[in-house]
């Protein structure tokens, strides 16, 4: 390995200029913006922590925070559970394995907009294939009236869209486990279930933590699914933080309070990330690499 020379710095510069311009400087600037009153980002007036006081006293903010917390946890844990089951099935030896993997990836190619459109059509209680069927059984999912139905559908849509990512990560983690360990477990008389619990799960732990880290960070920015399905309604009951921020900024022009929400989202994301990085480090120190 060499020490970087001038040429190396020049080659790496464009990536870092792009990142600084569009991500890093804006993310830091957000904190400054959150201390100002501002309409569409202009005409700033320093107001200290007023914006934070304002959103903390807004019931809609707390509603959005608790919705985000509940939906994100439901999405991430259900998704990782499903992905682990699917990956285990694929690893266990199935016919046409590479074709199956290609087909599992299909939702990855579909735009969020179209995903919402399709699930909206399928789940419609009066004419959707699935929605009408479950409505006939007495469980109508009427998301324009019921926040629980709305957020449940948001979770389903989000899981459908992102499941391929988790399946592929976990599948790769499983195939990296040496086969000799399973042979040893079999010699010791372990059944399928036992060898899954004693061999697969502990060795898969770092992979699962990485999948959780990325999925939490990405689910936290939940916006399109809610925005396009319910628009946050009825009566702002299904808003999540991304939608709350969008409404504040782009409908009401209140960039100062939106920046306060944004800064809370940045800090929240970093906290989640450090929690999982800490867990990862610990699991590696304990030898579960």
């Amino acid at each position: 390995m060499k020490k970087p020379n001038l040429g190396a710095y020049i080659l790496a510069a464009p990536v870092h200029i792009l990142l600084a311009m569009t991500m890093t400087i804006p993310a830091i600037y957000i904190f400054w913006l959150s201390l100002n009153e501002s309409t569409y980002g202009t005409g700033q007036l320093f107001v200290g922590l007023d914006n934070y006081a304002r959103i903390f006293s807004d019931p809609a903010f707390w509603r959005a925070t608790s919705n985000t917390f509940i939906v994100v946890n439901a999405i991430v844990y259900l998704e990782i559970l499903l992905a682990t089951a699917i990956a285990a099935l694929l690893v266990s030896g199935v016919p046409f394995r590479s074709l199956m993997i290609a087909l599992v990836l299909v939702p990855y190619s579909v735009s969020e907009v179209i995903t919402v459109l399709v699930w909206k059509s399928l789940m419609n209680p009066s004419y959707g294939v699935i929605g009408r069927t479950i409505a006939d059984m007495g469980y109508a999912m009427n998301w324009s009236a019921s926040p629980v139905a709305g957020l449940t559908l948001v979770a389903i849509i989000s899981i459908w869209q992102h499941l391929p990512f988790s399946v592929i990560l976990i599948y790769a983690g499983m195939t990296a486990i040496p086969g000799s360990l399973y042979e040893a477990a079999e010699v010791d008389g372990a059944g399928r279930f036992q060898s899954f619990c004693r061999v697969t799960l502990p060795l898969l732990l770092p992979t699962l933590l990485i999948a959780l880290l990325f999925r939490f960070a990405f689910a936290f920015r939940l916006f399109s699914e809610v925005g396009l399905l319910t628009g946050g309604g009825p009566a702002r009951t299904t808003e999540v933080l991304g939608v709350y921020l969008y409404r504040d900024a782009y409908r009401d022009g209140a960039f100062g309070t939106a920046a306060a929400t944004g800064w809370i989202m940045v800090v929240g994301t970093l906290l989640i990330a450090s929690l999982y990085l800490w867990l990862m480090q610990r699991s590696m120190r304990n030898g579960n690499v």
Binding site: M1, K2, K3, P4, L11, P14, V15, L19, M21, T22, M23, T24, I25, P26, A27, I30, L33, Y40, G41, A85, I86, L89, S92, S98, I101, A102, V104, V106, P107, S109, V110, S111, E112, V113, I114, L117, V118, S121, V129, F165, L169, Y171, A172, A217, F220, R221, S224, L228, G242, L245, A249, F255, A258, G262, W263, M265, V266, T269, L270, A273
Partner: protein, 275 residues
Amino acid sequence: MSDTLVRIVKAVGLAAILVWSLGPVLFVVMSSLKPAGDIFNYPPSLVFVPTLENYRALWTEFADFFPALRNSLIVAVGATLLSTVVSFMAGYVYSRYSGALVASSALYMIAVRLLPPIVVTLPLFPAVDFLGLSDTHLVLIVLYAAFWVSLVTIILKTFIDEVPRELDEAAEMDGASQLQILLRVILPLAAQGIAAGAIFVFIFSWNEFLFALIFTTSNAKTAPLVISEVMDAIYGTSWGVLFAGVTVQILPVLLLVILANRLIVAGLTSGAVKG
């Protein structure tokens, strides 16, 4: 568990996975081929005489669609080119050089990926406006590329790690410059990594919604944005036309994902696990 039982459980599981993954896409394609009045029949007609009527009507009834599709293509190709070129150069540096700055900036690139995109739009919105770039292809190209350079750099680093260092050194002895090594030695051998990175950026840019919603209003509107506007104000026979448009939007990337699934798997695992 007996072997037969295991086999039955597996078969049921596989069938469920297929219905889950493919069902919604098949619903779109089938609806686009049905007469508009039959799309929402209950129970749905699985066997029907396909018609191309909706596709014919796409040209006349959904006039915004093709310009939007063209915008999507321009933006996706532009973002893919920009991000792969700069990430290739950076990926080479991260693969071949070491030091405190290199290591810490690699960590920083992963952290930056976690930032929620909607948050950074707040300062960017007035800045883009000030620069006169709102509603242009350029703003989406730069944002989409910037959004992916960190992951694509990491993917390319892992692919370039596989290229033996001895090749660089031999070229260096022959008097090749850094740029020549990059283009003549590394580029041909890292082509797979470049393809993997390019696929991610292309699919993301083709489908992206949030940035398009905030930064475009008419000239640079992309297909997902136009579809989202239509789907809220739709009635009667337009459903068939909408599904025809949606099918046209989905098909190219659907084929790309299915045909290039190995590259996607390799890219995702190198980007997430080793990053």
